[in-house]
Symmetry: C2
Subunit: 349 residues, 2 copies
DNA sequence: CTGTTAGCGCGTTCAT
DNA sequence: ATGAACGCGCTAACAG
C-alpha cells in the first residue's frame, strides 16, 4: 500500500524504493533511464514495479539534488534586457524550439541584473544579450568559475566564453543605401542617453552613407530617443510631423521601426508608399506584421544562436568541446513592404 | 595565499574554510548572514577573515546545494503564455520590483508547457497565468506535493493553491456600457478557436449589454480572431473596412485593443474621434501609449498579485501561512483617450 | 545478468 | 566556533 500522493510532502527516492521493495539505486537507474550501458541492468518486471510505485506516490526526481551530483540542471537561462523587443521574442522562440526535444528548459531572466543572479544560480548555459563595460569583469570571472556563457556583443573578445557578433556596420550601410536609392530626405531613429549625441556603429553607418551619397547631415532628421518603444513612437511623430518631413526613415532597431510604423500610420501616412521605413535586426516578428518590415540582419540568426547555446549546454563539462570563439554572422538586406524596391520613376525626390 | 579564481572549478565552502582557517560551519554562518539570532555568534574579526577568503577565491554559495537543505530556492517562476502581451510584461515588471528587495529572483517560463517543468523544477512560488481543463488535475497534484501556486483563472476553485480571480463579467459590462452611451454601432474583438463561435464571460458581457440597450446582435460586427496580435489586427481591418463600419470597438483584451488601434490608424482613422476603442485588463502599458488606452480592469492588480506571490514565496513551508483562497479583485472603468467621455452632442449615432 | 551497499557532493544546522 | 549528521539523488564497486 503506502499512502498515495497528497500528504503535502514531496516523495523522495527512498519512499519509492520502500514502496516498490527495492533499493534506492534501482529506483535511480529506472528513473534516469540509464540501465544497460554503464550501469547494471534492471529486469523489465522490476522496472514496471518501480514505475508503478513512483506513479502512485507522484514521485519526481528533485532537480536540485540531481544537479548537485551531476553538475547539470537541464536548464538554460536567457538573460534578456528588453522583453518587449521582437528581437527578444525571436530568441526565446528559437531557443524553446531547439531545447524542447533535448529535455532542457529555457528560463528567462527579464532583469538587466544578470550578474548577481548568475553568480549563484546555475544553468547548463547562459545567453546574455547585452553587456555594459562594467560587466566585463564579472563576465570573465563567471566564465573562469565554469559558467558556460554565450554573449551577444559587437565589441567583446572571447575570454572563456562564446561571443556572438553580428557585425552590424556593413549591414546597416546596406539598409541606408537601400533608402538612398530612392530618397534624399532620409531620417534616422537612434537611441541615445539623455543629452548625449547619438553614437555607435549603426548610427555611423547612417552618417557615412549619407556622406558617400553627397548628402549633408541634417540634424533635424535625427530622431534621438530614450530606447523605449514609446520614445521611438514620439520621436517618429516629431520627425514625420515636420513640414519638410523625411520620406524615409532608418531605424537602428526593429522595435523602433515597428513603433515608427505605428506612428506614421497614426499620422495618416501609408508606410511603403508615403514613407519608407527600414529596421535593423531581422527579427522574426517583422516578417509577419502588416506591412511587413524591411530590415537588415543576419540569416537564420536566431536558429543558429539557439543551436550554439544548446550545444554548449549539452556538451557541458565532459567532452572537450570546441573552444570558445567569436562567431560572425553575415548580414543581408531583406526588402519587404515597409520599404520596397522602387523603380526610377517612383523615387521620392 | 591559495590559488585565486580562475581554475575553472567552482570554489566550495570547504575551500573557503581552509583558506580562512575556520570550519565550514563558520563560513556558512557568515555567508548566509545568520549569526546572532538562531545561530551562534561569530566574532567580527572572523567574519572579516572569512569574507576576505571568499572574495579571494570568488566563492558564491551553490544554490542547488542550499536548496536541498533549506527547501528554498530564492526563486519564483512566472509561467506566462503570451509574452508579447502587455499584460504579461506588467506582471513581470511588478514582480521584479517586489522581489528584488527580498533577494528573490523571478524566472520566466515562456512555455505553455509548465506542467512538466514544475514537476521537477522547484521554486518558492509559481505564478500560472492560464490553465486548460486538462491541466486541472496536474495542478492539484503539484499543490498536493507542496508546490506553492498562485493561479490566475476565472473558474477554478482553490484546491491547495491560491486562485486569483478578476471577475471580468461586471467590469466588461461597464466597458460595453461606456461605449453604448455614445454609440449604437459597437463592434467586438474576441478570440475564438477556428470555426467555433465566440464564448466566455467577456463576450457574454457584450451580447447582454447590447440586449439591455435594445440593440440586436449584428454578426458582422463580431470580429473573431485567432488569439494573436496579428489576428486581432486583421480582424480590425475587416471590421473597420466595412461601409457601415462600427463607430466603436470593444476588445476583450488590452493587447487586442492595441492591435485594433494600430489597425484603425492604418486606415486613417483617428482613435478617440472617428472610432472609440476600449480594452479589457488595465495593463500598465495602456496608460503610457498614445492614444492612451481606455480599459476596464482591477485596481492595482499587478502590484497586488506580486505581493501575494512573494508573500507565499517567503512564508514558504514554515509558518502556518494564511490558507489558500480565491482572491477577488474589484474592477473599474478607466476612461482614457482611446474611448473618451462623450457629451450628448458628441454622440456617434 | 540483476540488484544492493556505501559513500559522494553541497551547504546547513544541532549539539558540543 | 566546531565536528558531524543531515537532506537529496547519483553511481562505483561489490554480491548473488
Amino acid at each position: 500500500m503506502g499512502r498515495t500522493a497528497g500528504s503535502g510532502i514531496r516523495p523522495t527516492i527512498r519512499m519509492v524504493a520502500a514502496e516498490a521493495g527495492v533499493s534506492t539505486a534501482t529506483v535511480s537507474y529506472v528513473m534516469s533511464g540509464r540501465r544497460g550501458e554503464g550501469g547494471p541492468g534492471v529486469s523489465d518486471i522490476t522496472v514496471e514495479r518501480v514505475r508503478a510505485a513512483a506513479e502512485r506516490l507522484g514521485y519526481r526526481p528533485n532537480q536540485a539534488a540531481r544537479a548537485i551530483r551531476t553538475g547539470r540542471t537541464n536548464t538554460v537561462i536567457l538573460s534578456l534586457t528588453m522583453l518587449s523587443d521582437p528581437w527578444s521574442l525571436s530568441v526565446i522562440e528559437a531557443v524553446q524550439k531547439t531545447a524542447a526535444p533535448l529535455g532542457i528548459t529555457p528560463l528567462i531572466l527579464g532583469d538587466a541584473d544578470w550578474v548577481k543572479v548568475l553568480q549563484s544560480h546555475d544553468a547548463d548555459a547562459v545567453f546574455v544579450d547585452a553587456v555594459t563595460p562594467e560587466q566585463h569583469g564579472p563576465l570573465e570571472s563567471l566564465a573562469a568559475r565554469g559558467t558556460t556563457l554565450v554573449v551577444f556583443d559587437e565589441q567583446l573578445e572571447a575570454a572563456g566564453f562564446d561571443v556572438i557578433r553580428s557585425v552590424a556596420g556593413p549591414g546597416c550601410t546596406l539598409a541606408v543605401e537601400h533608402l538612398l536609392a530612392a530618397h534624399r530626405k532620409v531620417g534616422c531613429l537612434v537611441p541615445s542617453r539623455e543629452g548625449r549625441p547619438p553614437a555607435g556603429k549603426r548610427y555611423e553607418a547612417y552618417t557615412s552613407a549619407l556622406a558617400a551619397a553627397g548628402i549633408g547631415l541634417n540634424e533635424d532628421y535625427v530622431g534621438a530617443f530614450d530606447g523605449t518603444t514609446a520614445g521611438a513612437y514620439a520621436a517618429t511623430m516629431r520627425l514625420l510631423g515636420r513640414d519638410d518631413r523625411p520620406t524615409a526613415l532608418y531605424a537602428t532597431t526593429d522595435y523602433a521601426a515597428v513603433s515608427a510604423i505605428n506612428a506614421a500610420q497614426r499620422l495618416g501616412l501609408t508606410v511603403g508608399r508615403d514613407v519608407d521605413i527600414i529596421g535593423v535586426g531581422n527579427a522574426i516578428e517583422g516578417e509577419r506584421m502588416s506591412p511587413s518590415l524591411s530590415t537588415v540582419g543576419p540569416v537564420d540568426f536566431f536558429e543558429r544562436v539557439a543551436r550554439l547555446l544548446l550545444k554548449r549546454a549539452v556538451d557541458g563539462g565532459s567532452t572537450p568541446a570546441a573552444p570558445p570563439a567569436v562567431l560572425d554572422f553575415p548580414w543581408q538586406l531583406f526588402v519587404r513592404e515597409s520599404a520596397p524596391h522602387r523603380s526610377e520613376t517612383n523615387r521620392l525626390y
